[in-house]
C-alpha cells in the first residue's frame, strides 16, 4: 500500500510540468493559435526562474520572472502569427530553436551553480492526515498545489463563463466574433501571452521544484509531449490532467519496476523511451481515422485571421 501511495505521489510530481505546458497550450489553441514552440518557452521559463531564484534568493520573485519571460515569448509569438500571419508550424519550430539557444546562452554561467533550496514538499495540515489520499495528494510542493486551483479555474472559465465562451468561439469562428464587434486580434494576443506564461511555469518546475539546477535542454522533449497531450485531451483541461497523469505514471512505473526487479535487465534506455513511445500510441489511438467519434480541434486552429478573406 505504501508503495502504491508513493508511486501515485511521484506520478503527480512528474505530471505537473507537462500539465502546466498543456494548460497553457490549450488556452492558446482554443484562441486559434497553434504554438508548437512549447519546448522553447519551457526552457526560457526554466532558465529565467533558476537565474532569478539564485540571484535574488526569492522563489516568489522567480515565479514572477518566469511568467514575465513566458509572456514576452507569447508577445513575440503573437506578433508573428497574429499580426504578421506567419506559418504557425514553422514559427513554433523557430521558437524552439530560439528558446533552446537563448536558455543555453544565459544559463551557461549557472550550469555549475547548485545548492538552491527550491520548492520543497509541504504537508498541508489536516488534509495530509486523510488516510491514503492525504499522503498522495497533499504532501506535494507549492507548484503542484497551484495546479489544484488552476485546472478547475481554467475548466470553469472555458465552459461556464461568457469570456470563456468567447475564447472558444475565437478558435472556432473568429469571423463571427469580429462581426459582433469584438477585437479578434487583441483577444488572440491576450490568450497567447497568457497561455505562454503558464507554459513557462512548466519549465520552471524542472529548475525550481524537481531537482533545483540548470542544464542545457533540461526539459528533454516534455514540451512536445505536452503538445501531443493537448490533442489527446480534445482541448479540455480536465482530460489534459488525466493524460498528464498517465504520462507521469508511465515514467514513474518504468523507474520503480527497474528498482523492484533489477534482474529482468531491461536497460534504462528502453525505460527512458517509454514516454515518447506512449505519446505516439496515444496520438494514434486518440486521433486515428478509425475512430468513429473523432473530436476535431478548434476549426480555425493554425489559420491566421484575414479580415479581407472573410
Amino acid at each position: 500500500m505504501d508503495w502504491i501511495v508513493s508511486v501515485v505521489a511521484a506520478t503527480i510530481g512528474y505530471a505537473a510540468p507537462v500539465l502546466y505546458a498543456s494548460l497553457g497550450e490549450i488556452i492558446s489553441e482554443r484562441a486559434g493559435v497553434l504554438n508548437l514552440g512549447l519546448e522553447g518557452v519551457m526552457l526560457i521559463g526554466a532558465v529565467t526562474g533558476y537565474i532569478t531564484a539564485v540571484e535574488s534568493g526569492s522563489l516568489a520573485l522567480a515565479i514572477l520572472a518566469t511568467m514575465l519571460a513566458g509572456m514576452l515569448t507569447g508577445l513575440v509569438y503573437a506578433v508573428l502569427t497574429v499580426t504578421l500571419q506567419t506559418n504557425q508550424v514553422v514559427s513554433g519550430l523557430a521558437l524552439v530553436t530560439v528558446g533552446t539557444g537563448l536558455s543555453g546562452f544565459f544559463g551557461k554561467p549557472y550550469t555549475a551553480v547548485t545548492g538552491l533550496e527550491g520548492f520543497k514538499n509541504l504537508a498541508i495540515p489536516g488534509l495530509s492526515q486523510i488516510p491514503v489520499l492525504g499522503p498522495m495528494l497533499f504532501k506535494q510542493n507549492v507548484m503542484v498545489y497551484a495546479l489544484y486551483i488552476l485546472v478547475p479555474l481554467i475548466y470553469v472559465f472555458l465552459y461556464k463563463t461568457r469570456p470563456g465562451l468567447k475564447l472558444r468561439a475565437l478558435g472556432e469562428n473568429p469571423g463571427a466574433l469580429d462581426a459582433a464587434g469584438m477585437n479578434v486580434f487583441g483577444m488572440r494576443y491576450l490568450y497567447v501571452i497568457l497561455g505562454n506564461a503558464i507554459v513557462a511555469l512548466g519549465g520552471a518546475y524542472f529548475t525550481l521544484a524537481y531537482i533545483p539546477g540548470w542544464q542545457d535542454s533540461i526539459t528533454a522533449g516534455k514540451g512536445w509531449i505536452a503538445a501531443a497531450l493537448v490533442i489527446f485531451s480534445s482541448w479540455n483541461p480536465a482530460m489534459a490532467t488525466v493524460g498528464a497523469l498517465i504520462f507521469g505514471g508511465v515514467e514513474v512505473l518504468g523507474l520503480r519496476l527497474q528498482v523492484l526487479f533489477p534482474n529482468i535487465g531491461i536497460p534504462t534506455y528502453f525505460i527512458s523511451m517509454l514516454p515518447y513511445v506512449a505519446t505516439v500510441l496515444v496520438l494514434i489511438l486518440s486521433t486515428g481515422s478509425f475512430r468513429k467519434h473523432r473530436k476535431p480541434g478548434p476549426a480555425a486552429l493554425g489559420a491566421f485571421y484575414d479580415r479581407e478573406a472573410r
Binding site: A94, T97, F105, P267, M273, V280
Partner: protein, 363 residues
C-alpha cells in the same frame, strides 16, 4: 495613425535578393543586444564568429565539411515540406543512418573491403528511410498528425543508439561512449588534399536529382499538388498514401545519408550525441531556402559556418549558443518579413482618416 496591409501583385527582383540579406542583418543586430546584455562586446564576438567560420581557407573548408550532413538533412526535410509533410524527425533519421553505417563498417567483416563503403551508403539510406516511413504510417493510414510523431521518433532513436554505445558497441579500450574506430577502408576519400570528404559530390548529385524530380517528372508534380491542396489532389485521383510513403522514403533516406557522411567522412566512429541538433537546424535551412535544393547547399554552408564559428566566440567570453540564437533569429525575421513581400504596407495618418470620414458624412 493606422497601419494596414494591401495585397501586392509582384515583388521587384532586387527586393527578392535583398530580403534575406536584410533578415540576416536584423538578426545579427537583435542578437548583438544579447551580447551587450551579458556585458560583452558584440563587435569582438561577431568578429570571432565570422573569422572562426569563414576567416581562412582552412576555416572555410572545415565549415564546408561540417555542412555536408546538414545539406543531406535539409535536402531531405525540404522534399517532405514540399508536400506539406512536417517531417521534423531528421535528427533521428540521421542517427539511424549513422548507426546502420557503423554496423556495416564494424560488424560485417564478410563484406569485401572494396564494397564496404557502397554497403554503408545503402544501409544508411535504408535505415533513415525505414525510420522515417515508420513514423508516417499513422499519417498515411489513419490521418494522424505527423509533426509530433516524427519528433518523438528522434528521442527513441537517440536513446537506442545510446543503448548500443553504452553496451554492445562500446569501445572498451576507451573511457568514453564511443564505438571502436572505423577501419581505413570504411572511410570516405577526401577531396583534393582538404578535409572535405567526397560525400559532398553525393549531396550535389542529390540536389540535381531533386530539382529534376520536382520539375520534370509526373510524380514530382503530384507531390507539389498534394503539398498545395490535398483535397484537390485526391479529387484528381492522386494516391495520397503512396506519395506520403515515397516522400518519406527519400526524405528519411537523405537524412540517413547525412549519418553515413558524418560517420565515414569526418568522425570515423559512432559517438554519443552524434547528430548534435543538425536535424533541427536542417528545418531552418530548408525553410530559408524555400525548399530549393541548390539554395539548400549554400545556406547549409552559411549555417554550418555560424555553428562552427560560434565555438570561437567563447574566446571573448560569449557562450557558443549565440550561434543557435542567431540561426533562430534569422528564421524569425524571415518568417515575419514574408508578409511584406506578399503585401504593401499602407500607413495612413489619423487626420487624413478623420478628414475622409467627415467627407463621407457630409455626402
Amino acid at each position: 495613425m493606422k497601419i494596414r496591409f494591401e495585397k501586392r501583385e509582384k515583388l521587384h527582383p532586387v527586393w527578392k535578393l535583398l530580403n534575406p540579406v536584410i533578415c540576416i542583418v536584423l538578426a545579427l543586430l537583435a542578437c548583438s543586444f544579447l551580447v551587450i546584455a551579458i556585458g560583452k562586446d558584440p563587435v569582438a564576438a561577431y568578429g570571432k564568429l565570422f573569422s572562426g567560420g569563414f576567416g581562412s581557407a582552412k576555416k572555410l573548408s572545415e565549415s564546408i565539411l561540417q555542412a555536408i550532413p546538414l545539406m543531406f538533412c535539409a535536402l531531405g526535410v525540404s522534399i517532405s515540406f514540399k508536400m506539406s509533410i512536417n517531417n521534423i524527425g531528421a535528427e533521428g533519421q540521421y542517427v539511424m543512418g549513422a548507426m546502420a553505417a557503423t554496423g556495416v563498417a564494424l560488424f560485417c567483416p564478410w563484406i569485401p573491403h572494396a564494397l564496404v563503403i557502397p554497403a554503408m551508403i545503402i544501409a544508411g539510406f535504408a535505415a533513415g528511410a525505414l525510420w522515417a516511413m515508420l513514423a508516417v504510417i499513422p499519417k498515411a493510414f489513419w490521418n494522424v498528425n505527423e509533426t509530433i510523431i516524427t519528433l518523438m521518433f528522434n528521442y527513441v532513436a537517440l536513446l537506442f543508439v545510446d543503448f548500443l554505445l553504452f553496451g554492445a558497441w562500446r569501445d572498451t579500450s576507451l573511457n568514453l561512449n564511443y564505438s571502436p574506430a572505423y577501419p581505413e577502408y570504411a572511410m570516405l576519400p577526401k577531396v583534393f588534399g582538404t578535409r572535405i570528404n567526397s560525400a559532398i559530390y553525393i549531396a550535389i548529385i542529390a540536389a540535381v536529382c531533386i530539382y529534376l524530380f520536382f520539375d520534370k517528372t509526373t510524380r514530382g508534380y503530384q507531390i507539389r499538388v498534394i503539398g498545395s491542396s490535398v483535397r484537390a489532389a485526391s479529387y484528381a485521383g492522386m494516391n495520397i498514401r503512396t506519395n506520403i510513403l515515397i516522400v518519406m522514403l527519400f526524405s528519411g533516406g537523405l537524412a540517413g545519408l547525412a549519418g553515413v557522411a558524418q560517420a565515414s567522412g569526418a568522425v570515423g566512429r559512432l559517438q554519443q550525441n552524434f547528430a548534435n541538433g543538425t536535424g533541427y537546424t536542417a528545418i531552418i535551412v530548408a525553410y530559408l531556402s524555400k525548399f530549393n535544393p541548390f539554395t539548400v547547399l549554400i545556406v547549409s554552408i552559411l549555417f554550418s559556418g555560424l555553428s562552427y564559428g560560434s565555438v570561437a566566440t567563447q574566446l571573448v567570453g560569449v557562450p557558443d549558443q549565440v550561434g543557435v540564437v542567431i540561426q533562430g533569429a534569422i528564421l524569425i525575421f524571415v518568417l515575419g518579413g514574408e508578409i511584406f513581400s506578399r503585401n504593401r504596407l499602407i500607413i495612413t495618418r489619423r487626420e487624413k482618416e478623420t478628414a475622409l470620414a467627415k467627407k463621407g458624412a457630409t455626402k
